[in-house]
Symmetry: C2
Subunit: 223 residues, 2 copies
């Protein structure tokens, strides 16, 4: 049940679902209301993160971390362990392309705080948007993606462009040295084999919810 | 390998991952470039949807659907079968709360088209936003959530509010008769046991990507 048994070095062989949940625990631990209290029980942390306590303990066992029975986890210590496991102690600069509503929402999204993700450059193709600022950052012309990304050592790109442009933008990011692409656009893009690609489909969770709702309404799920 | 073996009535016992992928196939089948071509091979459809062909065939077997060897799937017929399985032939009216950048991005998101999801009411708490329009819809005062949702028979709610208000908004939606809630806000909310809750964490996929990127950079993933 310790990190040793699973992967040698803590954090090396984390299952992807655990990575996601660790991120949630870290967010809960660093929330304003929590961070000040010193210690936290596994049941309280589980509740804050929206998981059950057994799963939390299993996830934390990957870190080789264990709380003190009857006392709980040291909040600052546990947060540091999770940061090391997730690599969030190393800030990863991110380029965000497409400064429409979704891009602006992402640029300001509170959920990035404390996660080792730093939106380091913004790009758009629209002359009305290029040169404007969002927070502390100026919006660059997508035509300048290569020099700007190289200059800032950016290796992660987020695509939040309208339908029909995601492939072109992804190609430009890859030329600029980006090795990991997160695609929010509602279309499939392809990348060279050495580039990591993930996709977020904003409508998908809603559709799954609607699927279950439809079945409940039609009485397909009995009690 | 037929729907019969798995759940009796097609679509009744779809695994959740299959529901998500079926939604992706439907989107690919109904895309402007695809819909007109009449038939499609499983390998082409798999490529458009970004999955491998074996997984596609497994998913479609849940519908009891099978293409003609050497010809492929009838596009219109397959799209109809998926719609019936997902219940998207019944439009589900959705209330969207929080008309900031994220709410506006969701209200206009192209990915909802053809998925049986209809954004039917918009709500916000800000006097500057209430009464304005997004597309065809007027933004209502969140204080009116009960009468508006009841009037439009809304049972699905999407929360896209800033940090700190999601629980209050969720409670109001539940009072208004909403039975399924999708939370985009970067915080955990609780709902009564009879209400379905799902959550989208916009930063999570990016954090998973950064985790892998950090490990690649540090040489932890050898080749």
């Amino acid at each position: 049940m310790t990190g040793q048994e699973i992967g040698g070095t803590a954090g090396r062989d984390l299952p992807e679902a655990t990575v996601g949940r660790l991120a949630g625990y870290l967010r809960a631990l660093t929330a304003p209301g929590t961070a000040a209290s010193g210690v936290i029980s596994s049941s309280t942390l589980a509740e804050l993160a929206g998981v059950n306590a057994a799963l939390l303990r299993k996830d934390l066992s990957f870190l080789g971390s264990h709380g003190t029975r009857g006392v709980g986890y040291d909040i600052a210590g546990l947060a540091d362990e999770i940061r090391r496991a997730l690599g969030t102690h190393l800030a990863s600069p991110v380029a965000l392309v497409g400064i429409g509503h979704l891009g602006r929402a992402l640029a300001r999204y509170a959920g990035f705080g404390g996660r080792g993700l730093e939106i380091a450059a913004l790009f758009d193709a629209s002359p009305e948007v290029i040169g404007t600022r969002v927070g502390d950052l100026e919006v660059h012309d997508i035509a300048d993606v290569v020099p700007v990304c190289r200059d800032r050592a950016i290796t992660i790109g987020v695509v939040a462009t309208p339908e029909g442009t995601a492939q072109q933008v992804t190609d430009a990011l890859v030329r600029a040295g980006v090795r990991s692409v997160l695609n929010f656009a509602p279309e499939v893009v392809v990348v060279p084999p050495e580039v990591q690609l993930r996709r977020v489909d904003l409508a998908l969770e809603l559709q799954i919810l609607a699927f279950h709702e439809t079945r409940r309404s039609s009485g397909a799920v009995g009690g």
